[in-house]
């Protein structure tokens, strides 16, 4: 593996994932969150929602994974922020994208977004703005 290019303007390799109902059920179980919004057809129909809604918190996990995969196991994500723009529904594919905005004293600052891609519909933004600070030398202990 070659060392990643970490300088302002550098692209963070995108992370893409399809979140189907099976993945959503697994996520609900693993987080102890059994909200009906994520799987119950009657609950969704009564609220006019077309399909189970992906738990937005999972995008935090994907944004962190994108950074950790890029910078390797020694890097430590010390700050991560994200704001939700649009709902994502079961079966959709999301792509996390990002770019380095600054590098200061061994801390990498990145700006990220989560997009819904593929399918028949126009691309839309799931999460924006988002971003993180990553300490290259690892967690302070």
């Amino acid at each position: 593996m070659t060392a990643p290019l970490v300088e302002p303007g550098a692209e963070v390799p995108p992370l893409e994932r399809t979140i189907d109902l099976r993945a959503m059920i697994a996520y609900a179980g693993s987080t102890w969150d059994w909200h009906r919004l994520h799987y119950d057809p009657d609950y969704l129909a009564s609220r006019g929602l077309p399909a189970p809604v992906v738990d937005g918190q999972v995008f935090g996990a994907l944004l962190a994974e994108q950074l950790q995969d890029w910078l390797g196991p020694g890097a430590f994500v010390r700050r991560l922020h994200f704001r939700f723009k649009n709902l994502v529904f079961a079966g959709e594919t999301v792509r996390c994208v990002g770019r380095v905005s600054a590098v200061e004293d061994g801390v990498v600052h990145v700006e990220q977004r989560v997009l819904v891609v593929g399918g028949d519909q126009a691309e839309r933004v799931a999460v924006e703005p988002a971003g993180a600070e990553i300490v290259l030398r690892g967690e302070a202990t």
């Binding site: 693993s30 196991p73 939700f84």
Partner: protein, 166 residues
């Protein structure tokens, strides 16, 4: 009609604390990583984690902010079983705003998590479409059984007035 009631205003600054009934555990870490599709061996392979300076496997950074394991509360009618302020604002719908996480170190399987949630503020605004909304902000502080600070989580929840109610 104001969405910010006197009752809610009076609650700002209140705190609630939850302590997990058990250690986070290796299974919870592996389950979460598997569920989100993250195959990083830092979360499942002790030898690999030690090679990279950790005492053993660690949790994916955001697990602590996403799990309700520590809360140990029964599910509400919507099926939700985590921390909630139970703020009732008639004629509104509740949506997630966003989160800011600050991590101090990776959470480990033997950490017993305590989370303290503080109701930090509530601000009235209008959406770009002219609908009234109320932005409720909270801060969760996560520590372990030794008092180590693990993480903070600033969260915003938005209550948007329904158009037909105006």
């Amino acid at each position: 009609m104001s969405l910010l009631t006197d009752e809610l205003r009076a609650r700002i600054g209140t705190e609630v604390t939850y302590t997990a009934p058990e250690e986070l555990g290796r299974a919870a870490i592996r389950y979460f990583a598997r569920a989100v599709g993250d195959d990083n061996p830092l979360y499942t392979d002790d030898a690999y984690a030690r090679e990279h300076g950790y005492p053993g496997v660690v949790a994916p950074p955001t697990l602590i902010c996403e799990t309700n394991q520590y809360a140990d509360v029964p599910p509400d009618p919507d099926g939700y079983a985590g921390h909630d302020w139970h703020i009732d604002i008639p004629g509104s719908r509740k949506v997630r705003g966003g989160n800011t996480y600050t991590f101090h170190r990776h959470v480990r399987p033997d950490d017993v998590i305590t989370a303290t949630w503080r109701l930090a503020g509530a601000t009235e605004r209008s959406t770009s479409g002219g609908q009234d909304m109320l932005i409720v902000s909270s801060v969760a502080t996560y520590t372990n059984q030794h008092g180590d600070l693990l993480c903070t989580n600033e969260e915003t929840i938005i209550y948007v007035a329904r158009k037909e109610e105006r």
